[in-house]
């Protein structure tokens, strides 16, 4: 594991995103990710990427938010990617330590170490990771690790025409985000709130968001947890099962012995 030199991240202000997908294109282009199979029309708004996966490390969500009585409607956009969590579920369950934290405090997959066991897929609460069809290893956003090493910002941030994706040191981004939150709320956007900027969500997300509505509206979990949350319960239930199986086996064993003894006694008496 590398010594942390600086904590790099992104502040995604969804109020500024207009769904142009320049970030998706830049990501694919820089990282030389294969094109999606054509035609791939999802039928879901203008979102034909569909989801994050091994070939799509960035995905602009199109959310058509229509009121129940259908008198009001709006579009919400969210440029989604790996959040580079401080408590990264994928990293904790990886059996080969192929998922590591870089000197930029980002979460990175070492493709030479990954065995493609797929366990990290179940460990991510955001459904970010998937196996790349070409590499056969887990794939996700690297925050353009190669660009960071030479002092450049990630390709998506550079390509964003509205500065919806701000790249920088996380403490600076958080300060900027809090100011933005105050501004939005002061101008009547009372539902605007930050997601992942503080430690409440998985110890803090290096890639965090300004949302215009509750997280669930964007398909984000309101309180994501590490997968180990359910591990302890599993161990306790196992102790119970071992105790139960042991007891039942012992009793079954004894009942046989007693029955055999009774039968033998009867035979002896009869003789």
């Amino acid at each position: 594991m590398s010594q942390i030199e600086s904590s790099k991240g992104m502040f995604i202000d969804t109020t500024l995103c207009h769904g142009c997908k320049a970030c998706e294109v830049a990501c694919k282009s820089w990282n030389e990710l294969p094109a999606n199979s054509a035609p791939s029309l999802t039928g879901n708004s203008y979102d034909n990427t569909g989801k994050l996966d091994g070939e799509n490390w960035r995905h602009v969500k199109f959310i058509e938010d229509i009121s129940d009585d259908r008198t009001d409607s709006r579009w919400l956009f969210l440029s989604d990617s790996c959040k580079h969590c401080q408590l990264a579920g994928c990293m904790t369950v990886c059996p080969t330590n192929a998922i590591i934290r870089t000197e930029f405090d980002t979460v990175y997959i070492d493709h030479d170490t990954c065995i493609g066991c797929k366990y990290c897929i179940t460990g991510c609460p955001f459904g970010v990771i998937e196996i790349g069809h070409l590499s056969g290893t887990a794939e996700k956003c690297t925050l353009c690790y190669d660009r960071l090493q030479v002092g450049q910002q990630p390709a998506c941030a550079q390509a964003c025409p509205t500065d919806c994706i701000e790249f920088g040191d996380v403490p600076d981004l958080v300060a900027m985000a809090k100011q933005r939150e105050q501004f939005l709320q002061s101008t009547g956007n009372y539902k605007a709130e930050l997601y992942g900027a503080d430690k409440k969500i998985l110890g803090g997300l290096n890639v965090f968001y300004m949302l215009e509505d509750k997280p669930e509206k964007y398909g984000l979990p309101s309180d994501p947890q590490l997968p180990q949350k359910s591990m302890l319960g599993g161990y306790w239930s196992s102790v119970f099962s071992l105790f139960a199986v042991g007891l039942v086996s012992l009793l079954s064993f004894r009942s046989y012995r007693e029955r055999k003894f009774a039968e033998e006694e009867e035979t002896t008496k009869g003789a």
Binding site: V93, C117, V245, S252
Partner: protein
């Protein structure tokens, strides 16, 4: 439209081979666990032939390991689970059930090997002169002054191995898998009845002049009781799944769970064991044991594939 659990979370899409893996691992653990417990704490009763369970564990454990490797995308890198090539250190991630499980499997494998040598000695098979010290050591560990300690430790690691197969599934974000802590319990109980059923089959087919009858009957008694426990546990499991219960009860999976596992795999064998005259004692034992195995396999199929296919 953007329901978190349904649209964001991903299924790992583990290949079908994982069902065989869990099934075989369960049999290896269950057969070993019951055997060492009976050898250690079974008292002065007739335990003839029980040591032959070690053949089953020793035969299945390498198959389990092989299947584990086959399900990897990069099979040639399987050693990375035990050795961190990048840093040149031993690979152990205590937070990862898969990493911990790999080591537990290896330790369990050592106990299985010792048991195998003991069984060879008992049956006077493959007695190589160069390995006599090993046979003696295995016998001493099983019958010497520290036998109970050795067998207890073996029981602990076999149980841990059986349990890890379930913890592996529970430690995830796939809703049905993490909705209940009872998958390891279900796996363990099923491991015991499938493992003991294979031991019964082995003893039946190696039983000369009825000398193993008592051992077979005793083991059959255990299966009878644990079948009841297994049925109860399946019901508890389905209720504990709550809103996600339909992942294992809808459509084909429901038919397989209630008809295949509970009906054919547990209730019919229980009936045959309670009424052995239906098919004759030996046939009932064989048929019921085979059905228990079929049920154990289907159980793993339903619990693994049902939730994965939901996404």
């Amino acid at each position: 439209m953007y329901n978190y659990e349904l649209t964001q979370l991903k299924s790992p899409d583990f290949p079908f081979i994982i069902i065989f893996d869990l099934f075989i691992g369960g049999i290896a653990a269950g057969a070993f666990l019951v055997t060492v417990l009976l050898l250690a704490f079974g008292g002065k009763i007739n335990k003839a032939g029980l040591h032959r369970a070690y053949y089953i564990t020793m035969a299945l454990l390498p198959v389990y390991g092989l299947l584990l490797i086959l399900k990897l995308e990069h099979k040639e890198r399987f050693i990375n689970v035990l050795w961190q090539i990048r840093d040149g250190t031993i690979m152990l991630n205590l937070q990862s059930p898969m990493s911990l499980g790999a080591w537990v499997m290896n330790v369990f494998g050592v106990f299985a090997l010792v048991g195998f040598l003991y069984a060879l000695k008992k049956d006077n098979l493959l007695q190589f002169s160069w390995a006599q010290k090993l046979y003696h050591l295995a016998t001493w560990l099983h019958e010497g002054p520290i036998a109970k300690v050795f067998l207890s430790i073996g029981a602990f690691f076999s149980a841990w191995f059986g349990v890890y197969l379930g913890i592996l599934v529970t430690t995830s974000h796939l809703p049905a898998w993490n909705a209940t802590p009872f998958i390891p319990t279900l796996w363990m109980i099923s491991a015991v009845i499938t493992g003991v059923s294979v031991v019964i089959l082995l003893l039946i087919f190696t039983n000369r002049s009825s000398q193993l009858n008592e051992s077979i009957q005793r083991l059959d008694n255990i299966v009878k009781s644990v079948i009841v426990l297994n049925i109860a546990m399946i019901i508890v499991f389905v209720f504990a799944l709550g809103q996600w219960s339909e992942t294992v009860t809808r459509g084909m999976f429901g038919v397989l769970l209630w008809g295949g596992v509970v009906g054919i795999g547990l209730l019919v064998p229980l009936l045959l064991k309670l009424k052995p005259n239906l098919l004759g004692l030996k046939n009932s034992l064989i048929f019921s044991s085979v059905l228990v195995l079929v049920g154990g396999f289907i159980l793993r199929y339903v619990v693994m594939m049902g939730p994965m296919s939901y996404w």
